[in-house]
Amino acid sequence: MRWRQAREWVIEQLIRASGISSIVMVVLIFAFLLKEGLAVFQTVPLGDFLAGQRWYPISEPPRFGILPLLCGSALVTGGAALLSVPLSIASALCISEIAKGWAKEALKTGIELFAAIPSVVLGFIGVTVLAPLIRQAFHLPTGLTALTGSITLAFMAMPTIVSITEDALSAVPRGYREAAVALGATRWQMMTRVLLPAAASGIVAAVMLGVGRVIGETMAVMMLTGNAAVIPHSLLQPVRTLTATIAAEMGETVRGSDHYSALFAIGIVLFAISFSINLVADLFLHRTRAR
């Protein structure tokens, strides 16, 4: 009996330890990013790092200004959001309110499966199929532009936005719909004036999580956006994002060098961005659930 109790005590302590493992991991991630990344601020002041217009990590002296990278990420993400948000909300409405039976199930399963396609595969398809199309359509010297990245990323964000929006729509009580239709509204009026406002906070959360996924996306962006670290002026220019910079350059740095810690410092920036997006998205999600 004593032995069994002792064993259970050990198991329960293990479970408790695993329980808080997520907190430990978040702290560890942040701690290691800081440990490796903060060193760069001894050579570059924080202001110059965030607002510097030149990213020349291997010139002499090196320049570590991430403004072009921030702009690149913002441009690609903004383009992807403009494309994916309306299409996703339309698809979610279609799946949740219009499609029935097998069509509904097929669309839901299809979107779930499309979400599973690895980003490197979509990047590859983008390089071989989409980039040549973009190059011809706009008569550009290269098809690897911010637009190419935005279109591909839009499709990567869609599954997230569609499925969370659909959850939010189906969480709206049936009575709301019935009341609207009973008052003589068409189904479209019911959707735009009752359903969407009622599901608004869930939809905002869906969009934020989709955008969060796009900002953090690495492989497809690195393969598709042309990787030119200059401040972009249009969607048809090559750009370079924060994520692609880390992925492309980390392999060539010397451990402990300024370049190495500058890349970790970009990691800190990305971590901070995703942290705040997820925090806010979670607040919106809880607002839906609380109702």
């Binding site: 329960e12 996703s88 499966l113 992925a247």
Partner: protein, 296 residues
């Protein structure tokens, strides 16, 4: 009270215009959905059609040759499977234990709220940041070097939130009364979890784990600096070895090396997609069967 618009309402110009607007709007909704669906189908279709030509027994079982321009992708397939297996071995026990803590042990306190916040944030951390973290902690700090072990640990932490969330949902779906009966028969808390709750939650946990793992299997950014070998025409000998893995291999042959035959590239893409889709489909089937059989 009218339950549906009667004829006289339908006749008003106002109602007729609203109907016309609705028709246009529904067509637009349908077109948007169609655009998304068709594009997705086209992408999958291109991979299937062009990849099928590259598939052969030799492609799947031979070592790469001539600077990866010929031969097969055997080491990349094996490397991916080993990496995924190791990732499950680390992530599953920890994720399930964490979910058990959240559903069976912890009261709703500030600690659990903090845990939930941490899970939400873990699931949002960009994959390349996991790569940096893995490089800093496992490769350098723990001195594992660029190895299967370092990569699997990195991927395990990335998969953790998916497994925890799915397991928690599965555990919560077991009715409270089952636990009460178990306790009333004199079982301890752990015995209740081990013999009553956990067995019933296994299908749900498995579904979540497979979904998490399928995402890990396709990820490239976290393994760039932790596992991936550019070109290594042999199988990894131990967990401290580097390995070729499919997603990174596809990245390498599609962007880093010129003049690789398209069949090699599409073949690799197809194998990766088939692997990931097979995992996903099995999760979908498992979930559907489990839902049908559930008797409470």
């Amino acid at each position: 009270m009218r339950t549906r618009p009667a004829q006289n309402t339908a006749a008003t110009p106002h109602w007729r215009r609203a109907r016309a607007v609705q028709r246009v709007a529904f067509v637009a909704l349908g077109l948007s959905t169609g655009l998304v669906a068709v594009t997705s189908l086209v992408v999958v279709g291109i991979i299937l059609a062009r990849g099928a030509g590259g598939l052969s027994w030799e492609f799947l079982t031979a070592m790469p040759a001539k600077g990866m321009r010929a031969g097969g992708i055997f080491p990349a397939i094996v490397g991916t499977l080993e990496l995924v297996g190791l990732t499950i071995a680390f992530a599953l026990p920890m994720g399930v234990a964490s979910a058990i803590y959240l559903t069976e042990y912890a009261a709703d306190t500030w600690v659990t709220r903090l845990v939930r916040l941490a899970i939400v944030n873990l699931s949002g951390v960009p994959s390349v940041v996991y790569g940096l973290f893995g490089l800093g902690l496992f490769v350098i700090f723990c001195r594992f070097g660029t190895s299967l072990l370092a990569g699997a640990l990195t991927l395990a932490i990335m998969t953790l939130p998916v497994i925890i969330t799915a397991s928690e949902e599965a555990l919560r779906s077991v009715p409270m009364s089952f636990r009460e009966v178990s306790h009333s028969l004199g079982a301890s808390r752990w015995q209740t979890v081990r013999h009553t709750v956990l067995p019933l939650a296994v299908p749900g946990i498995m579904t979540g784990t497979i979904l998490g793992i399928s995402r890990a299997a396709g990820e490239t950014a976290p393994i760039l600096f932790t596992v991936a070998a550019f070109y290594l025409p042999r199988l990894p000998q131990s967990v401290f070895d580097q390995a070729m893995v499919l997603p990174y291999h596809l990245y390498v042959i599609s962007t880093q090396i010129p003049n690789i035959p398209q069949t090699q590239r599409y073949g690799t893409a197809l194998v990766l997609v088939l692997l990931v889709l097979a995992l996903n489909l099995s999760a979908v089937v498992l979930r559907a069967r489990f839902r049908r059989r559930r008797q409470w």
